[in-house]
């Protein structure tokens, strides 16, 4: 049963921050509530005050700029990102990821910021945003702070957000030339969460086609979204071959620390990672090679 709580629905960011500052650890933020209400129903979260930020329109936007890249307000719904022509054009991998996130119903109401703040390591957006080298802005009553999406997560369902703070914006830099980015997840039911997910970004040198830069980020493979840095090191600076990608998959699978749960065992997830890192790496590489 959901506990009783007092409810506020601020209409501006400033109002929300004032309320958050006032109620601090006694309150919880609800955006779409697609994850939060499940946890409240299970009695895992019992706030005395609920601050509903869903109606704050100033945090709901998609802005693209050829030079600066993409800026997405934290309250933008998954469905809006999935359907945005600007995102489909310049960040199609992001739209494709959103298209496979949960069901249409959940995407219609749930927001990208809510997904990140929930801190579920099985979430789809985080690994892809990490591969895209995305940053985010956290707002508090006394000002803002910015950080890499990669540094936002601390542990299972835990982020760096302090009491009184909320996530306000996500920024994705323009994808550099000769770069391929791909994401996929393994799941049994299409609208389900990732058993594991893998995002890879590869940038090739303009001459020679060596791997100049890359990121490999994994979903549901550790207590938080993680980068497979040893696997990255194996590929960095090299001419990427199928054999190297296979090896990278094996390395990533040993770096990861996935749990066993009702969906899959640790061993099964590790096997999946071997295959998916190789497969997604290959896809990113082929996109990077396209003229």
């Amino acid at each position: 049963m959901i506990n009783d709580f007092e409810y506020f629905a601020p209409k501006t960011l400033k109002e929300a921050l004032t309320l958050l500052d006032q109620y601090r650890e006694e309150c919880k933020i609800i955006a779409g509530g697609q994850s939060l209400l499940i946890m409240m129903r299970q009695g895992l979260i019992k706030p005395n005050y609920l601050i509903d930020i869903h109606g704050i329109s100033e945090l709901n936007y998609i802005k693209t700029d050829f030079k600066k890249g993409l800026r997405v307000g934290a309250l933008t719904t998954h469905r809006a990102i999935e359907k945005s022509p600007a995102i489909k054009k310049s960040f199609s991998v992001l739209a494709e990821m959103e298209n496979r996130l949960a069901s249409i119903q959940t995407r219609n109401w749930g927001s990208i910021g809510g997904n990140l703040c929930h801190g579920d390591p099985a979430g789809d957006p985080a690994p892809l945003l990490i591969a895209l080298n995305a940053t985010l802005t956290i707002a508090g009553i006394h000002g803002e702070r910015n950080m890499l999406v990669e540094d936002f997560f601390l542990d299972y369902f835990e982020t760096v957000l302090e009491h009184g703070e909320l996530l306000s914006e996500i920024q994705v830099p323009t994808i550099p030339p000769n770069t391929g980015v791909a994401y996929t997840k393994f799941n049994v039911i299409e609208s389900d969460m990732a058993t594991v997910g893998v995002a890879v970004s590869i940038t090739l040198t303009s001459k020679g086609g060596h791997c100049e830069d890359l990121r490999i980020a994994l979903a549901n493979s550790a207590p938080k979204p993680m980068r497979a840095k040893k696997a990255e090191e194996l590929l960095r600076g090299k001419k990427i071959t199928d054999d190297l990608l296979k090896e990278a998959g094996e390395v990533a699978s040993t770096e990861a620390d996935p749990i066993s749960d009702i969906h899959a065992s640790t061993e099964y997830r590790q096997e999946l990672l071997k295959v998916l890192v190789r497969r997604v790496g290959k896809e990113a590489l082929s996109i990077a090679k396209k003229p």
Binding site: I2, N3, D4, F5, E6, Y7, A9, I30, G32, G33, Q34, L37, I38, R41, L50, D52, H54, G55, R79, A102, S103, I104, Q105, T106, N108, W109, I189, E190, S191
Partner: protein, 160 residues
């Protein structure tokens, strides 16, 4: 806990009521408004039987607080028909036997309606995706897709 005012329009009818903040949209629809066509089942956003159309979008009414919908427009399965004239999707569901036990049907219909309103000329893949948030444990998906296809192909017109 102090009740709060909630105004919403359901199936074209405006309502003004007072609800506890923890009340879910599905609870308002079923308990306060008596619209029991919308079902409750998994309560964890997984099964889709509670799907309703909110401001033109399919959403799961078990996973939204009623107060979050303040000022919104909701269409439930009861709102699909015009009086005795069933919605084309409803007639197609009947003709194609697109239900067995019927428990998922309200959610299937509302998901299908929201989807076809947005995309009247979908591919079969699009239609499969449109109902992938709705689980039918009788596994009658093929007949549901056949019914949707018949509507898309214009075999059923709106009766006014």
């Amino acid at each position: 806990m102090v009740k709060k005012e909630l105004r919403l329009t359901v199936n074209g009818q405006p309502y003004e009521l007072y609800v506890k903040p923890k009340t879910l949209l599905v609870e308002v629809l079923r308990n306060d408004l008596g619209l029991t066509g919308t079902k409750r089942s998994c309560e964890s956003s997984s099964c889709g039987v509670c799907t309703v159309i909110l401001n033109g979008m399919a959403v799961k009414s078990c996973s939204i607080l009623a107060l979050q919908v303040d000022g919104g427009e909701v269409v439930t399965v009861e709102g699909l028909a015009h009086g005795d004239a069933l919605h084309p999707l409803q007639r197609a569901f009947l003709d194609y036997g697109a239900y067995q036990c019927g428990f998922c049907t309200a959610g299937m219909l509302t998901s299908a309606k929201a989807f076809l309103d947005e995309n009247p000329n979908p591919t079969e893949g699009d239609m499969r995706e449109a109902i992938d948030g709705n689980i039918c444990r009788c596994t009658g998906y093929n007949s549901i897709l056949r019914a949707m296809t018949a509507v898309v192909n214009g075999e059923y017109r709106e009766e006014k």
